[in-house]
Symmetry: C2
Subunit: 334 residues, 2 copies
Amino acid sequence: MPVSSRAWHLAARPIGEPKPTDFVSVTTTVADPGPGHILVRNDWLSVDPYMRGRMDEGESYIPQFELGEAMTGHAVGTVVASGADNVPVGSTVLHFLGWREYALLPAAVEVLDTRLAPAQAYLGALGMTGLTAYAGLTHVAPVQRGDVVFVSAAAGAVGSVAGQIAKRLGAAKVIGSAGGPGKARRLVEDFGYDIGLDYRAGDLPGQLTKAAPEGIDVYFDNVGGDHLQAALGAMNQHGRIALCGAISIYNSAEPPPGPSNLPLAIGKRITLRGMNVGDHYNIATGYIQQATDWLQDGSLRTEETILDGIDKTVEAFLSMMRGANTGKTLVHLP
Amino acid sequence: MPVSSRAWHLAARPIGEPKPTDFVSVTTTVADPGPGHILVRNDWLSVDPYMRGRMDEGESYIPQFELGEAMTGHAVGTVVASGADNVPVGSTVLHFLGWREYALLPAAVEVLDTRLAPAQAYLGALGMTGLTAYAGLTHVAPVQRGDVVFVSAAAGAVGSVAGQIAKRLGAAKVIGSAGGPGKARRLVEDFGYDIGLDYRAGDLPGQLTKAAPEGIDVYFDNVGGDHLQAALGAMNQHGRIALCGAISIYNSAEPPPGPSNLPLAIGKRITLRGMNVGDHYNIATGYIQQATDWLQDGSLRTEETILDGIDKTVEAFLSMMRGANTGKTLVHLP
């Protein structure tokens, strides 16, 4: 039976920081699934920083959102009608048709085992978010035993996992930065960091030097801008930087200047490497098995900021982009 | 018998572009060599961009020049007195006590075979310069068969060799940039480039897009600044950048902003890697053997800009820094 479903469409390409009016909620009717297809009632929607880039014009590594079309993104839901034997009604699945209540899609989805972890964990520590942290610290900017590691946006979805992974990989000291004294404290109390910096307190280069007078070996960059500049300054010889995100500039109408101290990378033989989690799906299975164990034995601590209801999706995205949240930001559809 | 020797000392730390008065020529007496030491009459002095950094204060990967002390750098000379059996009088040697007429030093020097190549080649294509180009394109930003390669300062000591090496490594297209139409033409006519760009003609990003509508895969950066920005814009997915030099900013009193499009490295998964030739001496022997063959069979073309006399050392350095020269800049002590 066709169902009524609300979905968020991109109404206007944001200039600078997106406004609520850049998005519009549209009610459509979603048909029954044909052979090989499934109808999913979404339970959890993911909002992620990379989506900001998809709202702009121009080409990218991932298709842009089309104006007037439903937006997409990772989501977890329950199959409510199925035309595919291998994905029966009642299955919990991970797919890419988020920002909506119901999704009609081919049955080529990942069926999740919710006995091992709650469904929404597959959007966070067991999903793209956790794999990003893991791949970044093992393959892009590999942590070696005894390293000093610095992570920005450390209280965010990726950063709150990255610090704990860096410690498991043998880092001698893991330093995180976040916005505000409360978050900086939580980095240490809840997310396994040895030192939490509050970048809003200013003088990040000075804070970093004080936290790591011996210099840093690995920097996991979620922020760009001043954070990248500070990290380049503090970096040791042969340091490694994973360029994972640049949330400090995603909302800039005009791109701000890059780090003026980038030439330090020459003398220090620093490697900066851009990363996209999609290049690392080959290690996902192994990572998820490990991380599932860590979640089950309580040694990997995660946090979710949850907003309830499809109406809250835009608010969830905007507050996440402003750095108002801690851990993984999710929309729950009750 | 002690000899009288003139040597260049650093008289003042340059602010911005060095002035002739930042250097002073000092005459000293150099003693006879004791056991294990040699006295070398320098025949050729090397002037190189990295020396500009040594004139500033502060720590670096290489010791700074001391104010009021003789400067150093690569030089080739003839042993005129020896306290070491393994380096007899008459040997041609490579060492690091340049910027002077006579050098007294331990016999732990490289003895050169001048039947294979002229002595000064060991300061250029067979020396640090050539190895820099080779290591950069094989180990730092490895060229793969079919790649499009872009080299800046392409008519300089490193760049004039790098283009030819990139072609040997299988690059499908090698693009160089240099200052002025004459140099741009010589890139193609003399140094093996497929396309020569004149960056002084402006709109480097546009020139690069026109030269490589298919995008570039490897960028060998000797310049930084606008060149790095243009290369990041033109780079293909999984592109590689060797950060070898930043001559466009070495003379800046205040560091200019970095590339505002550095975040492109995230989506394009670009690797930027700072390099120092000192990390690659393990491949020097093999490279020199190869390059000697190329020089002998005429397949590697090189050029030298030669100034005569110790008096001209500062002028040689300054004109090289201004980009006035082509190929390797040398001072010849007749």
